[in-house]
């Protein structure tokens, strides 16, 4: 299919001097005209040090209807790329083509003027973002209703609270009809209820089949929303592909969290003369290594280890923490088959299954070890933070979330059995109405 976004060999160079000074004056220009050649001489004729490449040889295409994730640390070049795509700034080399109008939920409220009323700003902002006047007029009621600012729409926005301001700004941006959208979930603004509205709106936009470039630092959100991710680092594309894989590689590079860890060199592998870890990985039922898992599905942690001393009684063990390092639980093999049983020397593979509908959404970090419990608990092989994975909540009703919309708090999110009995109509025998009690006092 013909791509809707095409980026060809794009590089962008910034002059550091220009960035620092902000602006030049004629005097500075004249002065530097005399000084710069001398300075250049001193540096051996090179002016390379005065420039920085924000982007280097970027090439990719996006198909219509695709949701593309962009990952990378701050300053990696993500926003420069978006600026070039939307034509705010010009590439130093190469070219970009977008076969549709571009809307952005990254920079809301652009062009809002404090002295103008909400109504006036909606029209102005619409025009700035490329809406025709008739289009804004047609959507005006929808925009205002979404922002919940009907009562204040004829008040100058300088009297708005920052929350109201953002709500109006987001509403205008969210009602653009552009075929291509830049967004970030963090942008959901306002109080919790309005944030949820923002998120719902974003998902609605996504379902409409529009092309989206999604920038986020939330790996969970990226994996949830995008099939494909591009990882940019130092202005270059490091990886472009399936988002599970890209996110996993990104995490392992930046946080040393990976879905699979293998120790090929026996000397480096964690272990002692009794047992030694060979491999730890996160897997699904089909045996695939997974960096991310659906919150409803069971996820396995597989430990491969060598028992070096015959006759050892051992138990493989894991501990699972959230991204803040808070320990959720530990678990070791206490099953009948290997408990108190002496093992022959050789290779073992143990898998522990964490049930679906049990963990909360987010990043999980797993430590793996091999221990013995008699006479005292001894750690034979230990790999703290060996692997990690994302638990992704797709918002399905058959998860613990049920019909609840919005964030679900808590360290774990088990799907528990509830029993509710009907005990007769209200005010039945033995029930005192608390209202009646207070009114008689």
């Amino acid at each position: 299919m013909k791509p809707i976004i095409r980026v060809e060999n794009v590089s962008k160079r910034y002059r550091i001097g220009a960035l620092e000074a902000g602006y030049a004056t004629l005097r500075e220009m004249l002065a530097s005209a005399f000084v710069a050649p001398l300075r250049r001489l001193g540096r051996g004729g090179s002016s390379e040090g005065e420039t920085v490449w924000a982007l280097r040889d970027i090439d990719f295409e996006v198909a219509p209807g695709e949701t593309l994730g962009l990952v990378g640390r701050n300053g990696a070049g993500k926003s420069t790329l978006l600026k070039i795509l939307s034509r705010i700034t010009v590439p130093t080399t190469g070219r970009t083509e977008v076969y549709g109008r571009i809307g952005s939920l990254l920079e809301v409220g652009t062009g809002f003027h404090p002295d103008l009323t909400g109504r006036e700003n909606v029209y102005l902002n619409g025009a700035v973002l490329g809406l025709r006047r008739v289009e804004t007029a047609r959507k005006f009621d929808q925009i205002v209703a979404f922002s919940e600012l009907e009562k204040f729409i004829d008040t100058p926005v300088k009297f708005y609270s920052s929350g109201m301001y953002l709500r109006l700004a987001f509403s205008v941006a969210a009602h653009l009809d552009s075929e291509v959208l830049f967004m970030d979930e963090v942008l959901a603004v306002g109080d919790v209820a309005f944030q949820q509205k923002c998120l719902d709106k974003m998902h609605e936009i996504r379902r409409e089949g529009r092309t989206i470039i999604f920038v986020s630092h939330s790996m969970t959100a990226l994996v949830r929303l995008c099939r494909r991710c591009i990882w940019i680092e130092g202005g270059r594309v490091v990886r472009d592909g399936d988002s599970h894989r890209v996110v996993n590689e990104y995490l392992s590079a930046n946080w040393h969290v990976t879905a699979e860890r293998v120790w090929t060199d026996g000397g480096e592998a964690p272990g002692d003369e009794t047992a030694r870890l060979v491999r730890v990985r996160v897997r699904d039922r089909e045996g695939e290594t997974r960096a991310a898992t659906d919150i409803r599905r069971a996820v396995g942690v597989e430990l491969t280890y060598d028992v070096l001393r015959a006759g050892a009684v051992l138990a493989p063990k894991i501990d699972l923490s959230d991204e803040e390092g808070k320990l959720l639980f530990t678990s070791h093999d206490a099953g009948e088959r290997w408990r108190q049983r002496e093992r022959a020397a050789g290779r073992y593979v143990s898998t522990v299954w964490i049930p679906g509908n049990f963990l909360a959404e987010g990043q999980m970090v797993v430590g793996a070890s091999v221990v013995s419990h008699a006479p005292a608990t001894t750690l034979h092989a230990s790999a703290p933070k060996a692997v990690g994975f994302q638990v992704v909540d797709g918002g399905h009703e058959d998860s613990a979330r049920g019909d609840h919309v919005g964030p679900v708090p808590g360290l774990v999110r088990p799907l528990l059995d509830w029993e509710t009995d009907f005990r007769g109509a209200q005010g039945g025998p033995g029930v005192t109405d608390p209202l009646e009690l207070t009114s008689t006092q």
Binding site: Y14, V98, Y123
Partner: protein, 292 residues
């Protein structure tokens, strides 16, 4: 409801088929080029020009008691001051009533000076727009000039009032007035956008302009008629494109013959300024977001 909230990447939505245009809507090229696409962009964003103009007018007179009458007060007060001072000095006015004579000069000049001064700072004051969203940048200074044009329209009420008062019947010459306004507008646009683009990088423009306009004011026959300059040296005076305009406005009001030579030179100078401006702006525009 089932599946409505389904947002996992696995169940990507059935795309609403959007017919891709054969030409990119937004293209960004490292190569400098000025072509049809820029014109098409201007057309696409034509309503923004209206909205930015409207914003500039609205914002300028928000929270003012006098509102748009400020547009009249500036040239009106200047006219009275000149009438008192230069009237006492008995400066020749080509037998035109003093008040009308001065106002004919002040009206286009005030418009021109305000338009150029305000548009030259417009890009810098709108830097938040420039760094965050794309549209043809020229719309910002153009809108500022548009707002000044509205001021001109308001202020010209006084001109017609003076004409009536002094019994100058509107003649054929008055038909030239819109053309003269257009000429001034184009000159202001050319100069204003050019200076605005320069100002993005060199803030010196802000400091130089008031001084330049003060000198320029005296080089323009506003408080004196062009006829005070000897015929032989008149062409030097007309090197200033505003000289032809100001004299032209007087001729169109009083019904005296136009100095077509001076007007032709003004038009040629305006065309030259505009051409340079388009070239310079188009080149400088590319780095606005990076250096502003």
């Amino acid at each position: 409801m089932t599946g409505e909230r389904t947002i996992a990447a696995e169940d990507a939505p059935a795309a609403k088929t959007y017919a891709l245009p054969s030409e990119p809507v937004v293209a960004n090229d490292a190569q400098v080029s000025l072509g049809v696409r820029d014109l098409r962009d201007l057309w696409r964003f034509r309503e923004l020009l209206y909205f930015l103009t409207w914003r500039d007018i609205k914002v300028r007179y928000k929270q003012t008691v006098m509102g748009a009458s400020w547009a009249i007060i500036q040239p009106l007060v200047m006219m009275l001051v000149f009438a008192v001072f230069f009237g006492l000095l008995r400066i020749p006015t080509d037998h035109t009533p003093h008040l009308l004579f001065f106002y004919c000069g002040l009206l286009p000049w005030t418009f021109f000076a305000n338009a150029v001064t305000q548009s030259s700072v417009s890009l810098v004051t709108n830097s938040n727009l420039i760094t965050k969203v794309y549209f043809p940048r020229v719309l910002i200074p153009a809108a500022t000039i548009g707002a000044c044009l509205v001021d001109l329209a308001v202020a010209s009420v006084i001109l017609f009032g003076l004409m009536l008062y002094y019994g100058f019947a509107p003649g054929v010459n008055l038909l030239m007035l819109p053309a003269l306004v257009l000429l001034t507008l184009l000159l202001a646009l050319g100069l204003g956008t050019w200076l605005a683009a320069l100002m993005v990088k060199y803030r010196d423009v802000r400091h130089v302009l008031p001084f330049v306009f003060q000198v320029w004011f005296f080089l323009t026959p506003i408080i004196y008629p062009a006829s005070v300059v000897p015929e032989r040296w008149r062409w030097v005076l007309h090197l200033n494109p505003m000289a032809g305009v100001v004299e032209g406005v007087r001729a169109s009001v009083t019904g005296r013959p136009f100095d077509w030579g001076a007007l032709a030179f003004s038009a040629a100078a305006t065309a030259a300024v505009l051409a340079c401006s388009v070239y310079a702006f188009n080149r400088l525009e590319r780095s606005f977001a990076d250096v502003i």
